[in-house]
């Protein structure tokens, strides 16, 4: 069938797909699908009337599924559709009806129709929501109008939605026509959910429907990524337009301090949630809380915990609290188990009247997130005379606690939205690199590599210099032959130098006299993640450096000068 369709170019034998389409239309409940075999009452008038009507169909509306039936019924008169149907759906007289038109049908139009027919024919359930189909239908429908204009128009109209699928799909033939590209600001409207207000679950299924991924093939290769230094430098230049509002928000939270203190007093613990880093807020609360009691004999004991600190352990938290509670009397050797420290703490607290305030930033940060850690913290929270204020940053943090933990925590939850960026909580550049699949690219970074090199013997430095020189010259070669400018952001681990070759160079330069020695030197680099190695297709070991070209040059410069 497919084959037949594809070479049926001169004869618009699209009857089968057409019928399918009608069936689809009717099953979709399109209101104007009545009287399919109604004879066209007056062709001439309709043809005259039609073109201006067509001009009214704005691109936006064509995009909108819910609007489509409306538009069809509103702008195209039902009689006309009946005629169109008569055109294709009655297989008995295909010749007689299509005969007058072929001169008007352009080649491009026909090919578009052919493709559309195929799309419609091959459609399956998964693709039922696809934009291409709607486009195909519209092309088929609008086939007797001045073809190119209409099709172009549609191509334009679909364009924002299918922007990513630029070079594929039925409208490929019209590609050169829209030279102008997308209008300014149109990309903000680019939306894969053209149906307007879908309920959340429908949106989920819509976006997760099977079928080809409709995103562009653009990559970040041409966009130079940020280094740590540049990130901080550039972020420093940014002037926050919402500073006042954020400050005001913070001042609103300040008003609650007295309330929180009262809640502490009454034996509750507090959990702050909401968007934004709450570290500042907690710090300010600590200060307020500290100063509030200054007029009394003893200052309150406050322990601050930063849950996001990598490598923080529950035991160290407990040990700090023990140190805060017992001061000089703390035994020099605490137990190795967190429970032991906790029990020591509990018995120490029994003889103490003053409560201890523990403030934990980001209790849901990865280091503390484990269930065992949360259970221990809950036991801490349930200890009398311990007051706990924690902050939680993630969306679903309450799932960390089951009913008994929640009971132990005895939390009051307050919305502590601050809108302050998580600057201390996350290593932004590292996180983003991991997200972009460029992890390890900046391990140690330029400074890190330079630092390690300084501590290495002369031989190793020479070897690294050799490696960098080779890599840079390799990059330069690639620069000439490859596309211009692309090599700028390319890192050293994409192209590398063959192991044998480097060894050969190294022996030539008297850096290493034996392969054994050469490998020992390389191992040192490996340990500091200063080089990468991989096997290429032929099984040869390729060595690279996880640095960008600029960084490589910088390191090389330092090596040569130093």
């Amino acid at each position: 069938m497919k084959r037949k369709l594809s070479d049926a170019g001169d004869q618009p034998q699209v009857s089968t797909p057409k019928r399918r389409r009608t069936a689809l239309k009717q099953s979709n409940g399109v209101p104007n699908g009545h009287a399919p075999n109604l004879a066209p009452p007056n062709d001439d008038i309709l043809n005259e009337v039609h073109p201006p009507q067509n001009g009214q169909s704005t691109p936006k509306k064509a995009n909108d599924v819910s609007a489509t039936p409306l538009q069809q019924s509103g702008l195209k008169t039902p009689t006309h559709r009946a005629k169109a149907r008569g055109l294709f759906a009655t297989p008995t007289k295909p010749q007689s009806v299509t005969a007058p038109t072929p001169s008007r049908v352009r080649n491009a139009d026909r090919s578009a129709r052919k493709k559309s027919a195929r799309v419609l024919f091959e459609q399956n359930e998964d693709a039922a929501w696809d934009g291409s189909e709607r486009l195909a239908e519209e092309i088929l429908e609008g086939d007797e109008e001045p073809g190119n204009e209409k099709a172009d128009h549609l191509a334009e109209s679909i364009e924002p939605e299918a922007a990513e699928a630029q070079d594929k799909g039925p409208k490929g033939a019209k590609q050169p026509k829209r030279r102008a590209g997308r209008p300014k600001g149109a990309r903000n409207k680019r939306s894969p959910t053209p149906e307007g207000e879908l309920p959340a679950h429908e949106r989920y299924f819509f976006q997760n429907r099977a079928g080809p991924v409709k995103t562009s093939n653009a990559t970040l290769n041409k966009v130079p990524l940020l280094t740590h230094e540049e990130y901080f430098e550039k972020l420093g230049q940014y002037v926050d337009p919402c500073k006042e509002e954020k400050d005001y928000l913070l001042s609103l939270h300040h008003r609650s301090f007295a309330q929180w203190a009262f809640e502490f007093e009454e034996g509750f613990n507090i959990c702050l949630y909401g968007y934004g880093s709450k570290r500042h807020l907690v710090g300010q609360f600590a200060e307020w809380f500290y100063n509030r009691r200054l007029s009394f004999t003893t200052s309150p004991t406050i322990v601050m915990v930063n849950g996001y600190t990598p490598g923080i352990s529950i035991r160290s938290i407990f040990a700090t609290i023990v140190a805060a509670v017992m001061g000089e009397d703390a035994p020099s050797k605490l137990g190795a188990q967190p429970t032991e420290v906790l029990e020591l703490l509990q018995s120490a607290l029994k003889s103490r009247k003053e409560p201890v305030t523990v403030l934990i930033n980001s209790i849901d940060a990865p280091p503390l997130r484990r269930a065992a850690n949360q259970a221990l913290l809950a036991r801490l929270a349930a200890t009398p005379r311990i007051r706990l204020l924690v902050t939680a940053d993630t969306l679903n943090f309450p799932v960390m606690w089951d009913i008994s933990l929640r009971d132990q925590f005895n939390f009051l939850f307050h919305d502590g939205t601050t809108f302050i960026p998580f600057s201390a909580e996350a290593d932004v550049v590292e996180e983003v690199n991991a997200l972009l699949g460029r992890k390890g690219r900046r391990v140690g970074g330029k400074d890190g590599v330079g630092f390690v090199l300084k501590s290495l013997p002369e031989n190793a430095r020479n070897l690294y210099r050799l490696l960098l020189t080779e890599l840079i010259s390799l990059l330069d070669d690639g620069h000439q032959s490859d596309d211009e400018g692309a090599a700028e952001g390319r890192s050293g681990d994409d192209n590398g130098i063959e192991f044998r070759l480097l060894y050969q160079k190294a022996t030539e330069e008297f850096v290493a006299s034996s392969e054994m020695m050469f490998r020992t030197l390389l191992k040192e680099f490996h340990d500091h993640q200063m080089i990468t190695s991989r096997m290429d297709a032929s099984g040869m070991e390729i060595l690279g450096v996880p640095l960008s070209r600029d960084e490589m040059e910088g390191v090389l410069e330092d090596l040569v000068l130093g």
């Binding site: 550039k234 509750f268 009913i403």
Partner: protein, 697 residues
């Protein structure tokens, strides 16, 4: 921009504290905090100035800070006075509920020994069901009991304490010794022993301890038995089995599923070691109902929880497992909110004090919706003079307010009295599902009880009761309220019953046994007609008495069951705000974050242009990226995302827009979204992100 500016922008401070894991807080030197906002300093000084002598002051002055310090103190004091009373009641109920199981378990522990159990370890299995917290309460009290009688002690073990056998044993031994001797005692115990120093997990230590203390019963309680590793449990129990002749151990298992399920998980060799008894703890639901009743219906209650609060409280109890403690904490929070944030609560504290003579307080009273309603009613009653006084004369208002307040409180007590009467009457109905006090209270608090179907049913049933039941009912009602009419009715009933020779109870005319169905055949059709059976004289008299009682009840109920929201000054003694309670205990953090990111100006109240709905560069970077994210499909091309992000800044800041700065913002926004777990790297295509959260799902 100087270094300080950068640090400010990044939210970084120069101190090292942010990179430390845990540290003891020391306030910054005051020279450093010169740049602090003045508002905060003022607050600090205001609070420290205000309370030089009273160190317990936690409340802040209301009325925009204009409230008198004495009034603030009064509110606090009154809270401190009223809540402990209620807490006491709750504790009494909890103890009462636990008492049954406690005595059972205690006697089991005392009476059983390995000998009575054929050499097996005596085991008490306590199923707690949804009432999770009850077990720890039970264990604590068991521990106290055993220690006070010097019989032994309870060692509580959680699954977290038992990662492996050595650690478990060590924990058990240490817990047993510290329980009675404290941490120092444990250290001393380890050091004092003659002979070679034993390792911490040697059961010889426990043996020694048992001998020294002359412990008769050592209860090893596993709180969450299901969570223990079955293999570990087997090892542990077989070890204790072999020490059973030296260490008198009794195992107590807390089980939250069922005994059968728990047993199924254990190897048979382990089950064979145990011999015991099964105990059940009462469900939480009953407990909560009793607590609520005692809080609301008690005659000396001064403030009540309104309908919204009650509904929220009971919704929570039925929606999740909620321990009675959690329930009482919520009630406590409701009380706390009332006294903390309602300046009028001071009226409850003192009715005569001169402290009340504040302008602001009168103003506040006059602004109450209930004051307005009250005045409107007065105007309708033509007492315009009084309204004028109340509006203009502060002193008059303050003199009158306590009276009205007391009257209102009296009405509230009446309402709950009526609720109890209805509840008592309902005990005599036959219907399967009896409304509990909470249901009735909710209806009463919204003023619907008097006309509800429940009361109609109740009245109908009360009519049909026979004399014995009616007598009981009368006794119940008299226990709740004493009114001369009820006494009179009971007198009459008593005298009637005395005259009545029959031992069988009298039935009223409404009783189904007193109606007779007559069957007559009229024109070949059967006609059923109901008629009253001939009533004896006593029965007629009794019907009369029942009628009197029913009318009395009806009149009483319609009189007392008014809508409390219509009472003057109900804002003072009725706490009915759903929100602080709901949001504080059942927050919606995901919604809050989504809202903050999707519509950031809900939070950031903008001074310039409030109606900014679409994405703009004025919003925080993460919010912009999140909105783009919402628009995108399940798979996102990072390059295009970046282009779209950049486009927003480009279009708005014509010319002066550094793309690297925007890139830095893009970076920070991306990393934050990643930290929230809404995006992750996708392997399907290069440089693509996979979306992992949908708004509103």
């Amino acid at each position: 921009m100087d270094a300080n500016g950068i640090d400010d922008a990044l939210g970084l401070s120069n101190d090292k504290s942010q990179t430390l894991g845990a540290y003891i807080y020391q306030p910054p030197k005051h020279g450093k905090s010169a740049g602090e906002r003045p508002s905060k300093r003022r607050r600090v000084s205001a609070t420290t100035d205000g309370d030089d002598n009273s160190d317990r002051k936690c409340f802040v002055p209301l009325f925009n800070g204009d409230e008198a310090a004495e009034s603030v103190q009064l509110r606090y004091d009154f809270y401190q006075q009223i809540w402990p009373k209620q807490e006491h009641k709750i504790q009494a109920i909890l103890e009462d509920v636990d008492a049954g199981v406690l005595t059972d378990v205690l006697s089991f522990v005392r009476d059983t020994s390995p000998q009575t159990c054929d050499g097996c370890i005596p085991t008490a299995m306590v199923t707690v069901g949804s009432n999770v917290s009850s077990l720890s309460r039970l264990l604590a009290r068991l521990n106290d009991q055993l220690i006070s009688t010097e019989e032994g002690s309870v060692v509580v073990l959680e699954s977290g304490d038992a990662p492996n056998l050595k650690t478990t044993l060590k924990n058990i031994i240490r817990a047993a010794i510290t329980n009675t001797d404290g941490n120092d005692g444990y250290q001393k115990f380890l050091g004092d022993r003659a002979g070679p120093r034993l390792l911490g997990y040697d059961l010889d230590l426990l043996h020694d301890y048992v001998q020294r203390k002359k412990t008769k019963k050592l209860v090893l309680a596993l709180q969450d038995s299901e969570a223990f590793d079955p293999g570990l449990l087997t090892d542990l129990l077989s070890l204790f089995k072999s020490w059973l002749d030296r260490i008198p151990i009794t195992v107590l298992l807390g089980i939250s599923t069922s005994v059968e399920l728990f047993e199924g998980r254990l190897p048979r060799s382990c089950v064979a070691l145990l011999r015991g008894k099964h105990f059940e703890v009462q469900e939480a639901g009953n407990c909560v109902g009793r607590i609520y009743q005692s809080l609301q219906c008690d005659p000396d209650t001064q403030i009540w929880l309104g309908r919204n609060v009650t509904t929220t409280l009971f919704e929570n109890t039925s929606d999740y497992f909620q321990s009675p403690e959690a329930f009482s904490r919520r009630v406590k929070y409701a009380y706390m909110s009332h006294f903390f944030a309602n300046p009028l609560a001071v009226l409850l504290a003192s009715s005569t004090s001169t402290i009340l003579t504040q302008n602001k307080l009168c103003e506040a009273i006059r602004n109450l919706p209930s004051f307005r309603m009250f005045c409107e009613d007065l105007v309708e009653e033509q007492s315009t003079e009084q309204v004028r006084y109340m509006l203009e004369d502060d002193e008059y208002l303050l003199r009158e307010t306590p009276n009205y307040l007391n009257a209102g409180q009296e009405r509230m007590r009446k309402i709950f009295q009526a609720v109890r009467i209805v509840h008592a009457c309902l005990q005599y109905t036959q219907s399967a599902k009896k409304a509990n006090v909470a249901d009735l209270s909710i209806r009463a608090l919204s003023g619907e009880l008097a006309e509800s179907a429940i009361v109609e049913d109740m009245v109908a049933t009360a009519k049909t009761l026979d004399s014995d039941k009616l007598n009981e009912l009368l006794a119940d009602v008299r226990a709740i309220t004493s009114s001369p009419e009820v006494d009179e009715i009971q007198e009459d009933l008593k005298s009637l019953l005395e005259t009545c020779p029959d031992t069988a109870p009298l039935r009223s005319g409404y009783n189904i046994n007193s109606t007779v169905t007559k069957t007559t055949v009229v024109q070949q059709r059967i006609q059923l007609s109901k008629g009253k059976a001939d009533l004896s004289e006593q029965a007629a008299e009794y019907t009369n008495i029942a009628d009197r009682l029913v009318t009395l009840l009806q009149v009483h109920l319609t009189e007392t069951l008014i809508n409390p929201q219509e009472l003057f000054l109900h804002e003072v003694f009725l706490f009915d705000l759903r929100n602080p309670l709901k949001e504080t205990f059942a927050p919606r953090p995901r919604f809050a974050i989504e809202r903050a990111l999707a519509t950031p100006f809900d939070y950031l109240i903008s001074s310039s242009d409030v109606t900014m709905n679409k994405v703009s560069a004025k919003q925080p970077a993460t919010a912009i990226l999140y909105q783009l994210y919402l628009d995108s499909g399940a798979l996102v091309n990072i390059h295009d995302l970046w282009q779209a992000f950049y486009g927003i800044f480009e279009t708005e800041k014509a010319g002066g827009c550094d793309d690297r700065v925007v890139m830095a913002l893009f970076y920070s926004a991306l990393s934050e979204l990643k930290a929230f777990g809404v995006i992750k790297n996708s392997r399907k295509k290069t440089d693509h992100l996979a979306k992992s959260a949908w708004m509103g799902l």
